[in-house]
């Protein structure tokens, strides 16, 4: 199954934005690498904030609904059960800070990443419940619109596909 553009022009615009975002993220990553970072492993809030300030990649390994209820502003949501699939395309030398609710799932995430060869992995030791930094809520850009409530009163899964 291939991903296809419905509208080539709009699609290209998205690719452009994605490329620009990638460039910004790459620059932030380089900025982070060029300064000294705390030692990898478990970190408390203070060190985690240093990592946040340096633009280190932050991965929230909780479920999507937990993430949407409140997360560290720069965090990406990669639920623990999707981490192994997602990390295949990541740069193993890029520092990563993982966290969850209380620091239990994120320890597992850290072990998965370290076992896979990631060189600099941090775990927010007591999770977001102990986090005293900024938190934002919402789905983080995944929501693009909304619809009228369904006539059936049930939630709805829409799938848009082609025969290609």
């Amino acid at each position: 199954m291939h991903l296809l553009k419905r509208d080539q022009l709009r699609g290209l615009r998205i690719v452009g934005i994605a490329a620009a975002l990638f460039a910004v993220v790459a620059m932030l990553g380089l900025a982070g690498c060029s300064s000294s970072l705390p030692a990898a492993g478990n970190v408390q809030n203070k060190a985690a904030k240093t990592l946040e300030d340096k633009g280190v990649r932050i991965i929230d390994v909780r479920t999507t609904s937990e993430f949407e209820a409140g997360h560290i502003p720069e965090a990406e949501n990669v639920p623990l059960d999707q981490l192994s699939a997602a990390m295949g395309s990541w740069d193993k030398t890029e520092p990563i800070l993982v966290y969850c609710a209380t620091g239990s799932r994120s320890v597992e995430a850290m072990q998965i990443l370290v076992s896979a060869g990631f060189t600099t992995v941090y775990n927010l030791q007591n999770g977001i419940v102990a986090w005293d930094g900024d938190v934002t809520s919402g789905p983080g850009g995944t929501v693009v619109g909304s619809l009228a409530p369904s006539a059936s009163g049930l939630p709805v899964l829409y799938e848009f596909y082609t025969d290609w």
């Binding site: 553009k5 929501v143 909304s146 619809l147 009228a148 939630p155 899964l157 848009f160 596909y161």
Partner: protein, 74 residues
């Protein structure tokens, strides 16, 4: 993808409504995709009963991911 979605459709009957649109053939589906800003196929939109979008997934998706998002719908 179709067998997986069809299987889940039966399993979630009475809990989640499944609406599948071939955007090349179905004008209503194409309009809906535009309304939701879905620019690629396949795209999955998980919509709560109140009409709010809970999650959008673009591209290939595993059965486990589908189940997770279906279970998260309110």
């Amino acid at each position: 993808m179709k067998p997986v979605v069809d299987g889940l459709k039966k399993e979630y009957e009475g809990k989640v409504e499944f609406k599948l649109y071939n955007v090349e053939k179905d004008a209503e589906g194409a309009n809906l995709a535009n309304q939701l800003g879905a620019q690629f196929v396949p795209t999955f939109e998980f919509v709560n009963a109140d009409g709010s979008i809970n999650k959008e997934i673009v591209g290939e998706v595993s059965e486990a991911q589908l189940r997770q998002q279906l279970d998260a719908l309110k």
